[in-house]
Symmetry: C2
Subunit: 115 residues, 2 copies
């Protein structure tokens, strides 16, 4: 479903969350993992992901490691200590945000227990 505009702003948090779970991942792997987790509903584009990874690295939240696989290279990322703390903060914020959205969505009673 074509990545609704709601997706905006959540990409880097998703990346951090996945790296919290998996310890190290490379870019392409992240796009596939998100596709898998959301049953194809959310597709992270490379044009969004790579700049985002670079920024997270520049901000000191991720550290990169190049690994050669045969003749190709992969760039693995993992969380730094700072990144681990930031991830916790962002996940807390994301959960708060979802709660706020639900407060707004559930002002009527058509869906009492939320989605």
């Amino acid at each position: 479903m074509k990545n609704s505009p709601l997706y905006k702003g959540s990409l880097s948090t998703i990346v951090l969350k996945l790296l919290e779970e998996n310890s190290r991942m490379y870019g392409y792997e992240i796009t596939q993992k998100v596709k898998e987790l959301t049953a194809g509903e959310l597709n992270i584009t490379e044009g969004a992901l790579y700049p985002s990874l670079h920024k997270l690295e520049a901000d000191g939240l991720l550290q990169a490691e190049m690994v050669h696989i045969g003749n190709r290279m992969r760039k693995y990322y993992r969380l730094t200590e700072t990144g681990k703390k930031e991830t916790a903060d962002r996940l807390y914020e994301l959960k708060a945000f979802i709660e706020q959205m639900q407060l707004i969505l559930n002002t009527n009673l058509t869906n009492p227990q939320g989605i």
Copy 2:
């Protein structure tokens, strides 16, 4: 609280949802309503809201009505028929988005029933 970057993209959907509930509202009222619903956690800025309202109107989803209150004016908005349909679509998308976020957030078992 400081409107996290996650907020991006959801403003117009929030506006549409509120107008679905209230039949007609004016800009300032919308900012106050959101503040109230989220216990002050989400603050819509006027610099974001008014251009958004103008766009929704230009897109034919809202129709405006000027009302004089004493010496002041209020610009009330309400959903058009097209706007009602679009609202249903966007709310469906927002719920789907939240579900997708929860799929990603709940890949571990520290919080089995979600937020």
